[in-house]
């Protein structure tokens, strides 16, 4: 039984590490879907876009993928702000966000994926960095550095976002826009501008999350699809828009997935998060740590 105990410990540890990475992937959705109520199902596609940009910069210039993704963050922010402007003018203003807004994001998801397939093909791409390869051995526990590094930077990202939301004026305005747009307007703040900034930030996190993804595993364009359910499962489970909740839920999903793939085989792992999502939606839509 000692052998399987080791397996269990390892599955737990890698679940926690992967969970932190999932939290970074979900942070953007927690902002857009959880706080702004914009159902951006194209978020995983932007993450894959981030992965490919990190890959190009890494392959051409030899830059570290995480550094590269931080450099292109402003471009992602601008992309997000632009998309929100279109979304606002075409759907939110006309009150059609439920049906056509969803179709809009679904279309964006599809366009991004097919464009990447056309340009890069369906081969798996990967990046090179000094921390990809070596593994830390702590007794019976193996920690691959390629998972540890994204995990640490993810935690930093979540912490920074949480500080931004709770300590700065913009952050508080973002929280306020979710609660009462009219009140915010009476305070002399333009809610559309605040939402544009928040959506820009949400897409900017996709750049970093994309770099994490391609560090952890080789990436091809359709990988994003299995993240759609995972990301929304975590967001709903974490109580829609609460970052600490997102982190807890992400680690929970990470642990359950990692145990499932260790003991039942990796082909069952995708069903875990989706099953979790269906169950959560059916039983407790407010999430584990619902407000």
């Amino acid at each position: 039984m000692i052998f399987s105990f080791d397996l269990l410990i390892n599955a737990l540890v890698s679940g926690v590490l992967i969970g932190a990475f999932y939290a970074a992937v979900t942070a953007g959705v927690s902002l857009s879907f959880g706080i702004l109520d914009i159902v951006n199902i194209a978020h995983p596609a932007f993450i894959i876009l981030g992965s490919y940009i990190a890959y190009i910069i890494n392959a051409r210039l030899g830059l570290d993928p995480i550094v590269a993704s931080i450099i292109v963050m402003p471009a992602f922010y601008a992309l997000g702000a632009g998309i929100y402007q279109i979304y606002y003018a075409s759907f939110e203003k006309r009150g059609q966000e439920s049906l056509r807004g969803l179709a809009f994001f679904f279309g964006l998801l599809f366009i991004t994926e097919v464009s990447l397939v056309l340009y890069f093909g369906v081969d798996y791409r990967y990046v090179e960095a000094p921390y990809i390869g070596p593994t830390l051995h702590l007794g019976a526990i193996d920690i691959p550095l390629r998972i540890l590094v994204p995990c640490v930077v993810s935690l930093l990202l979540i912490g920074a976002l949480q500080l931004l939301l709770t300590r700065t004026f913009i952050g508080r305005a973002i929280m306020a826009v979710a609660q009462d747009q009219l009140a915010l307007k009476l305070m002399g703040v333009d809610p559309i501008r605040i939402k544009r900034i928040a959506f820009g930030i949400s897409i900017a996190t996709a750049s970093l999350a994309g770099a994490f993804l391609i560090i952890i595993q080789p990436v091809e364009p359709s990988v994003g699809r299995e993240y759609i359910g995972r990301v929304f499962a975590i967001c709903v489970l974490g109580g829609m828009g609460s970052l600490p909740g997102t982190l807890v839920a992400a680690m929970l999903i990470g642990i359950v997935e990692s145990i499932t793939s260790t003991f039942y085989g990796p082909s069952w792992a995708p069903a875990v998060s989706f099953g979790f999502l269906l169950l959560t939606l059916a039983v407790r839509p407010a999430g584990l740590l619902g407000r």
Binding site: I41, L99, F104, F106, F110, G229, P270
Partner: protein, 332 residues
């Protein structure tokens, strides 16, 4: 037009289509036409839930695949004629639709849409791990070369799909003009108000998911015989999901004509683009058309036509006017 007369007209049109394809003599037209007709059924089925009730289903591919895989499972056990398989496939995915609705329809809008995406992945995982129907390796179906009165087998499949398309359109039109259809429209326009006025919204939504799911499954059941080799990744392909959303939205979602127009236009366009350009590019075209149409022409081709004829102002077609005080620059 009365319903029985409408059915006769539909059957007459179907007869002409079949005769025309027969007269062209080339089996390619049957192959291409089958795909277009399959999209007519899928788009019409999607529209019953999406267009009439306003609930977005991203999991069309899952219902479609349930139909296809129940056909494979039955075929493995004992080969049956295709119309029977269509009924079995429809029943199976109707049940899945009902269960799906029961689990998620108490949630509104976006959650339902996300849950349908989740359902697609859960079902795909189940099929990948189910060895009886081939698992991730896929399953071969050996179809007969020829069948008695039609000549080649593809003509028979084409006829089955043609009749299914007629059935789907007839059902959609029937629903649209019945109490059921008005009930669906109240859900789409204002679910809370509908419920407050005594409309049994949950029951109606369950009926809609079941009918919509069953039709999608029926469209999927002949698929294994059409392609001969069924793989999870092809049966659950994202292009089915995208197409069955794009076609009604491009055609117009308020009546049965929209999905038909959208499916015939987009389906033929894709068949042409696949032959002349490439199959990846034609998917890109669908994506851009979908995004372009929802931004520029929110009521689809039908909306554009209505606007052109000035029968009614564009806003009333949407069915709901958005009144807001918190969005600057809003005109309503």
């Amino acid at each position: 037009m009365r319903s029985d007369l409408f059915l006769l007209v539909c059957l007459a049109v179907a007869g002409i289509v079949f005769a025309a394809a027969f007269a062209l003599g080339n089996d390619y037209y049957f192959f291409a036409g089958y795909v277009v007709l399959q999209y007519v059924v899928l788009a019409t089925a999607w529209n019953i839930l999406g267009g009439y009730c306003g609930y977005v289903n991203f999991g069309s591919a899952a219902f479609f695949a349930v139909g296809a895989y129940s056909a494979v499972a039955v075929h493995r056990f004992h080969p049956l004629p295709i119309p029977v398989l269509v009924l079995i496939g429809g029943a199976a995915s109707g049940i899945v639709g009902f269960a799906m609705g029961y689990l998620t329809l108490r949630l509104r809008g976006a959650f339902f849409a996300i849950a349908t995406l989740a359902l697609a992945v859960v079902l795909q995982t189940l099929v990948v791990n189910w060895d009886y129907v081939g698992g991730s390796r896929g399953a071969y179906i050996v179809r007969p070369e020829a069948i008695a009165p039609f000549g080649s087998y593809i003509r028979y499949l084409f006829l089955v799909m043609l009749l299914l398309a007629v059935g789907a359109i007839f059902a959609a039109r029937l629903i649209e003009r019945s109490r059921l259809g008005y009930g669906f429209a109240t859900i789409r326009d204002d679910e809370l108000a509908a419920e407050a006025s005594g409309v049994p919204t949950l029951r109606l939504k369950l009926i809609a998911t079941t009918i919509s799911g069953a039709l999608m499954g029926m469209a999927g059941a002949p698929l294994p015989y059409y392609i001969g080799f069924l793989q999870p990744s092809s049966a659950f392909g994202l292009d089915y999901a995208v197409n069955s959303i794009a076609m009604p939205l491009i055609g117009g979602t308020t009546s049965w004509v929209g999905p038909l127009i959208g499916a015939v236009l987009l389906g033929s366009l894709q068949q042409i683009a696949t032959v002349t350009i490439s199959s990846a590019v034609n998917l890109l075209i669908v994506g851009f058309l979908l995004v372009g149409f929802v931004i520029v022409a929110p009521n689809g081709i039908i909306g554009l036509v209505h606007k052109y004829l000035r029968h009614q102002p564009d806003d009333e077609l949407v069915g709901r006017r958005h009144v807001s005080i918190d969005t600057p620059g809003s005109t309503t």
